[in-house]
Symmetry: C2
Subunit: 218 residues, 2 copies
């Protein structure tokens, strides 16, 4: 009995040790790659990507540096994954709209892009925030800026199509319309809180109404 | 004569020495407080305020650290001066509009605030850029955020007055109108270049038209 008991106790200690050493080798229970990404992006947005070391990430996540490297190859791989998350969402939305039902006017498709972009922005707010702060300080950032520029060009083409069909006003240059329209959408990043008083769908509708119909009472 | 001449020469050397030593002690010729502020704000915006040391500023300005301290008491004093520059401009614009000609409707005064805010933003773009990035990491930043909040409250009051007089649409909550309207104005920071193709006055008019009349062709 005493021996068995001692063995059980011993086994218990070993198991506990195995559990405790697991985090150091294989990440922490409950931490997967998605969680590491999400919480890393939080910190990048709070203190800046360049100013954040893998040591800072480890501290923020409550992991060792080697546990982080179990989940991701490098700090830059986290940045690339976050930027892709934001860019894939925006790009898919625009491609769907551009190649959308030709029975819909360019104006209808443009309004749809604006409203769906607000949805992407709200659903992926941390990743989009990171994207909007990218300045091209590394190859990953330069590649993201290139993808962003391609998206802007598709949007500008859709704006131009809406001007050409005669549904958008022609007293503002189409390039400027495009800048202001998506500047308005992106500005939401600065203040929107998912748990705040403004519902996601109401926000999308309000932006679309402001931009296309204007704030003056009809 | 000789004595006088020697004295003159001596005097001349002393003067020249005073001129040459002046830069080390008193900053560099051509550098005054305004130049130091302007070029410091450039660097803060490029690499982040927190990440910029006085040593970095000295290098960027081509001055010694002690020459910088001749011009300004501290890095934080530069931040405070830049934030005040942005906040004073915005605050004065709003105060003028709010207490403006009562013969003008709230809508007219609101449009005027929007257009003049665009002007302030373009004229003081580096300082406003710095202001919009402030997150409250120090007493100076907390004080700036407080002043910014007071400005937002004055704007929200003017928006509410325009809703109350029946000139702004009532299917978007006034708080949300205020957020979106000045989010649109502020988004200009991200892309506007004074030497670019868009004129300052055209920009102000385009934003005011988009926001109040909408992009759909009348």
């Amino acid at each position: 009995m005493h021996g068995v008991s001692a063995a059980s106790w011993q086994h218990g200690v070993v198991s506990k040790q195995a559990e405790e050493s697991a985090p150091a080798r294989r990440g922490r229970p409950g931490y997967n790659q998605a969680t590491v990404l999400r919480r890393s992006v939080e910190l990048f947005n709070r203190q800046g990507y360049d100013a954040t070391s893998v040591g800072d990430l480890a501290k923020h996540l409550g992991l060792t540096k080697s546990a982080i490297y179990h989940h991701v190859a490098s700090k830059e791989a986290l940045l690339a994954a976050a930027l892709d998350e934001a860019l894939d969402g925006l790009n898919d939305t625009i491609d769907r709209a551009v190649s959308g039902d030709p029975a819909h006017s360019a104006l209808q498709r443009l309004r749809s892009v604006v409203e769906q972009s607000v949805g992407i922005l709200v659903d992926h707010q941390p990743a989009v925030t990171l994207l909007l702060r990218v300045r091209g300080n590394s190859d990953v950032e330069v590649a993201a800026l290139r993808r962003r520029r391609l998206i802007d060009e598709k949007l500008a083409t859709l704006v131009q199509a809406a001007v050409d069909e005669g549904s958008l006003r022609d007293d503002i240059p189409p390039d400027l319309i495009s800048r202001l329209l998506f500047g308005t959408v992106n500005s939401v990043i600065e203040w929107y809180r998912p748990d705040g008083p403004v519902d996601r769908a109401d926000l999308a509708r309000a932006i679309s109404t402001l931009a296309f119909e204007g704030l003056t009472k009809p």
